[in-house]
């Protein structure tokens, strides 16, 4: 097959147009979301945290949360393992005897403000919002209290006010969203005396984290926790020991939460549109099968009746013919009998006449 120059050029331009179209389609499809541009984040450096609990105190104050049972200056609470609860948006835990660490290590826990939050994806009344500044916020005015967000969150952050009978809320760190809007720092970042928390644009924080890892390769592991975990989070962590030693899960994967349920949700229109068609088809088939069965039954009955009728008719005709024949035979017999009798009578008559003739002569 020969290819003309013109046709070849045509193909070439079509291919060129195809590549540009493909690229723009990918960009518009949004399958690879890397966060809102210039969204904010915080870098937590686990090698710098000294476990002073100042961040907990500041968080409690700026968010107007109820006062804890033990004061924030009491470091004995670090003995146990704590998590966020309905009165605490952030906690610091202490990890002792970690292999490769000289002293105790600390880790701050709070909402990581995922780029594609599981809680927001799971909420059936859209009570959660991912704001363009990076904060994941919650709207209690619509919350039903199903607590599916708590099931969904891979970091086990959202908590619930189980004590309240009439107005229970989900409680979680807001990234100090109201303060961010006023141009203020999050409470915890502002107070941290050890500069363990660095606030900034997420993309800059990733650069800073990488710089630190490159400058002090002995001090840090070559991983930024939150860069890709669950599709990426606004809060990032760097550490000198494996993250599991600080109670962080290393098996979360890089798939953002909405991806996990996308397949199941995409089945909905297929079932809703195909099932009625298929089921009506099945119904039609079963109806038709019944109809054919009925028709066949009717045909069989009709045939049997017709056959019986034909047989009866044949029998009838035969009987009639026989009767006719019998009748004819009877007539013949009668006629013959009459003739015989007549002949006999005639013979007797002639004999008598002959006898009478003989006597006078």
């Amino acid at each position: 097959m020969s290819i003309s120059r013109r046709r070849f050029l045509g193909w070439l331009s079509a291919a060129g147009a195809g590549t540009t179209l493909g690229r723009s389609a990918h960009a518009a499809g949004g399958t690879h979301f890397t966060g809102y541009p210039d969204s904010l984040g915080v870098l937590f450096d686990a090698t710098r945290c000294i476990g002073c609990r100042k961040c907990e105190e500041a968080c409690n104050k700026v968010n107007e949360l109820p006062a804890p049972q033990k004061p924030f200056s009491d470091l004995a609470v670090l003995e146990g393992r704590r998590r966020t609860d309905a009165k605490t948006y952030t906690v610091v835990n202490r990890y002792e005897n970690v292999p490769g660490a000289k002293g105790p290590l600390y880790r701050k826990i709070q909402c990581n403000h995922c780029l594609e939050p599981a809680c927001a994806s799971a909420c059936f009344v859209r009570a959660f919002a991912k704001n363009s500044n990076g904060a994941v916020t919650y709207d209690e005015s619509v919350c039903v209290g199903c607590r599916y967000c708590m099931i969904a969150c891979p970091f086990e952050i959202p908590t619930y006010e189980y004590d309240k009978a009439f107005t229970p809320r989900i409680m979680k760190c807001t990234f100090c969203h109201p303060r961010l809007l006023k141009g203020q720092l999050p409470g915890c970042v502002e107070i941290c005396p050890a500069e363990a928390l660095t606030f900034g644009k997420r993309r800059n924080l990733l650069k800073i984290a990488r710089e630190r890892i490159e400058l002090f390769p002995g001090r840090y592991l070559d991983h930024i926790y939150g860069e890709t975990e669950m599709g990426g989070t606004a809060w990032l962590t760097i550490s000198g020991v494996p993250f599991r030693e600080l109670g962080m899960r290393e098996d979360l994967g890089t798939t953002p939460a909405p991806e996990l349920t996308k397949g199941a949700l995409s089945v909905v229109p297929v079932v809703a549109s195909m099932w009625p068609v298929l089921l009506t088809g099945v119904y039609a088939i079963s109806q038709r099968r019944e109809k054919i069965a009925r028709e066949e039954q009717a045909a069989a009955v009709a045939e049997a009746v017709a056959k019986a009728q034909a047989e009866a008719k044949a029998k009838h005709t035969e009987a009639m013919a026989k009767a006719e024949k019998d009748k004819k035979a009877a007539i013949d017999r009668e006629v013959k009998k009459a003739l015989d009798e007549a002949a006999k009578a005639k013979a007797q008559e002639s004999a008598a006449a002959a006898a009478a003739d003989k006597k006078p002569s």
Partner: protein, 389 residues
């Protein structure tokens, strides 16, 4: 049978009435505590364990066991298996009661039950599988209610309304199958969002399929199980058609359940292969998983087949009860036992007695409602004044 009839009609202090009365009284007291003191006072729910038996049993098990309605009506009206006709009304009734009780139980579980319509009327969280569940359960409860009304309308003698509803039978049946497919499967898909919390032996991308297929098993088994109970207690309410067809229903459903169980077992094995979770089989959870798979899937599959082949109703009825228990085990595993498997035992969930109390209370209300309806309405017998629909 005459003496049994007398027992049913007497509203006196029979053991059943006494026990039911105590359960209802306790349930009402817990209800008051729940709605005045909150969830902390009545449940062992925590920040790690936001869902307990009110979801694991009342919702997950309740919906699965109410699947008899769509399974039976689809077999009779869509697949044209008319010999199951007498089983449709009892199945629709239990389906309707089951879903109504699921919705009732949800009022206890969610924090602000008066906001349950919010996902429909205020803001729609369409990215949530829970939205799909909520929408389908709400719609299907309506469908089941309409499917149930012919019996109530015959009882009330409203011939005109009854004949209109009877004409909708096919459309309602198809709608019911669509809605059931969607929400039975999405109850499993609820857990797809938490791969890090559900044990790898139970977590699978096929979770939605597992929940749907096992709901068919649950539906078939519940019809047999419930039929055997109805025969014991409401024999005198059954007409000749029901009694003539009952054994055939049990045999046919046993055969179907055996096949579906076999298919379910195979897709479960494929799921393990797909996520390559074989190595977990050696662990403690693996042993429990094997108990579920061999004891509650393969074993009933085998005994259903034997029962159907030898026409042994005794085997079939016992297998049905065992399979229903197996569904409970499976839903408990996904919702509670294998969920949060990574947490230390001190953080794991065990229900508060009041949670169990409410679940028992809800089931008791269901039994009482069933008893009232089958003794008053044409469920186990066809009303002589009306043609079948």
């Amino acid at each position: 049978m005459p003496d049994r009839k007398i027992v049913i009609q007497k509203p006196a202090l029979t053991p059943f009435n006494v026990v039911a009365g105590i359960i209802v009284a306790v349930g009402l007291i817990i209800t008051v505590i729940r709605f005045t003191q909150g969830l902390r006072a009545t449940t062992n729910l925590s920040d790690y364990n936001p869902w307990g038996i009110w979801i694991g049993f009342d919702l997950l098990v309740g919906v699965a066991l109410a699947a008899g309605g769509y399974v039976t009506s689809a077999a009779c009206y869509i697949f044209g298996l008319k010999r199951f006709h007498s089983a449709v009304r009892p199945a629709i009734l239990t389906g309707f009661l089951g879903y109504a009780l699921v919705v009732l139980a949800l009022h206890y579980d969610v924090g602000r039950p008066w906001r349950l319509p919010y996902p429909f009327i205020v803001q729609q969280g369409t990215t949530s599988l829970l939205f799909e569940v909520a929408a389908c359960v709400a719609l299907y409860l309506t469908v089941l209610f309409i499917e149930f009304t012919p019996a109530a309308l015959e009882w009330l003698g409203l011939k005109r309304a009854r004949s209109i509803v009877a004409k909708l039978t096919l459309v309602l049946t198809i709608f019911g199958v669509v809605l059931s497919t969607l929400h039975q499967s999405s109850l499993g898909a609820l857990f797809l969002i938490a791969p890090s919390k559900l044990h790898p032996l139970w977590y699978s991308p096929y979770l939605a399929l597992y929940f749907f297929v096992s709901s068919i098993i649950a539906g078939l088994s519940m019809v047999i199980f419930e039929g055997s109970l109805a025969h014991k207690h409401f024999h005198d309410k059954m007409d000749a058609e029901h009694l003539r067809e009952a054994d055939g229903v049990a045999l046919g459903f046993a055969k179907a359940a055996s096949w579906v169980l076999a298919g379910y077992f195979i897709i479960k094995v494929i799921g393990i292969a797909q996520t390559n979770a074989w190595n977990y089989l050696g662990s403690g959870y693996g042993l429990w998983f094997l108990v579920e798979m061999l004891g509650f899937v393969l074993l009933p599959c085998y005994f259903y087949a034997i029962g159907a082949r030898e026409k042994n109703l005794k085997i079939i009825r016992r297998t049905a009860a065992w399979t229903v228990l197996g569904i409970v085990v499976n839903r408990f595993n996904v919702g509670m036992i294998a969920f949060n498997y990574h947490l230390p035992s001190s953080e794991r969930y065990f229900p508060h007695w009041m949670e169990i109390g409410i679940s028992v209370f809800v089931v008791t209300i269901g039994i009482l409602a069933y008893k009232f309806i089958v003794t008053h309405m044409p469920i186990l017998y066809a009303h002589p004044d009306y043609d079948a629909h």
